[in-house]
């Protein structure tokens, strides 16, 4: 039985619709989030991550009632990201049944510190969105993925989610080498994200050093035409 985590990632838009993006752009409608969550619950998934990808851009707070309803369907750990801008948001989300908060903006380090002080590091995931390889050194005007991850860890997050923007929705494999190189340099668990077309792609990232892997596509699409089918491999049927 495997200790590693495979995490379905559910992207929610401003209308509470479950969608999947390609390279942070083009969107495909997947279905109703509650139906999909119930299926994942029955399949006893390791963990679920829900991101409201419009909340930040729309300047909205998290939709607490909606998230509380989502959490009430989950008998597995649930993380949430999107529109978290103050400590009260964190308090309400955790009280409502969210285990971990996903923060992606590098400008939110003071908030990360404040949340870690009260709710602990295990309640925070720092999401580093990067282009190229996770192992790349810093370019002229941007932090390297390692530097960005380190800033989150120093501020108090307990996990780092490494998201490849280039690979988002492409379903042709994860940034295995880059994720492996970066995981080896971090003391916190790493969640690989971006590019998986199937659970085997996620296992490759884990074999390279990630502690967990997340994917939207791998558990929601099947075949070259991306037919929507919600699937998940049972824990006792995976390589250890």
């Amino acid at each position: 039985m495997s200790d590693t985590r495979l995490i379905p990632l559910l992207l929610i838009d401003h209308d509470h619709r479950l969608i999947k993006t390609v390279r942070f752009g083009e969107r495909t409608y997947i279905g109703d989030p509650f139906n999909v969550l119930r299926i994942f619950n029955e399949k006893e998934v390791d963990e679920i991550c829900v991101l409201d990808i419009d909340a930040g851009a729309d300047g909205r707070s998290p939709d607490f009632d909606f998230i509380r309803l989502l959490a009430s369907e989950c008998f597995m750990p649930l993380s949430y990201g999107g529109g978290i801008t103050d400590l009260d948001h964190a308090r309400r989300l955790i009280a409502g049944g969210i285990e971990k908060l996903v923060i992606s903006s590098p400008s939110k380090m003071p908030l990360v510190r404040a949340i870690a002080d009260i709710f602990g590091s295990q309640s925070l995931i720092g999401c580093v969105n990067y282009q190229g390889s996770a192992g790349d050194e810093a370019a002229a005007d941007t932090l390297s993925p390692f530097d960005a991850a380190t800033a989150f860890v120093e501020a108090g997050v307990g996990e780092i989610m490494l998201q490849s923007i280039d690979r988002d929705g492409m379903r042709d494999g994860m940034d295995v080498a880059g994720i492996g190189a970066l995981s080896a340099r971090l003391t916190t668990p790493v969640i690989a994200l971006g590019g998986a077309g199937a659970a085997t792609d996620m296992q490759a990232a884990i074999a390279a050093g990630a502690d967990a892997a997340a994917s939207g596509s791998a558990f929601c699409f099947i075949g070259p035409l991306r037919a929507v089918l919600v699937t998940y491999p049972p824990a006792d049927g995976r390589p250890a």
């Binding site: 006893e44 509380r68 009280a95």
Partner: protein, 204 residues
Amino acid sequence: MQYDEIIIVDYDVGNAASVLNMFSYLGYPARLSAAPADVSRAARIILPGVGSFDAAMNNLRASRLDAAIVAAAASGAYVFGVCLGMQLLGRASEEGVTEGLGLIDGVSRRIMPTSPTVKVPNMGWRMADPCRAHWAAIADARYYFANSYHFCCDHDADIVATVDYDGAKTAIIATGRVTGAQFHPEKSHRHGFTLLTRFAGLSL
């Protein structure tokens, strides 16, 4: 069978809703309460916990829930601490400077990896290994862990189950009617159902 009402201590830094959610799903009577009078009179108490040791203890103290939990335990209530809630049952933690509830002899210490491949927090699904025969029912179950500190018991007899994370670490502790689990049963699917069902129906 008539079940006692389970009081889930609601002290503002816990994940009380998740615990209530699982009891509701299982069909046992449970409710959240932040009132010391409810807690001190309860027959079964769950102390949930997500957060840092000092923040949690300070909240318990400010609302006088600490004394209520200790009083309930002294009068024979079943008390079950979950994750941080379990660590609060001890005397202290390296995570903070305040005193814990002192219901189980031990302190929580930071997980210090013996190799760089061991990450902190311990985050994920692990098997719990029971050390006592009458807890065998929880063997071969996987539970969700999310902790940077682990409970070190003064007395080995208080360790009910361990988890192998860079060596054996405490997974479940129990002294009399006071029990604690380092993992999150309320987030461990049917494995958690089994454990919480056991707590709801425990008798002498």
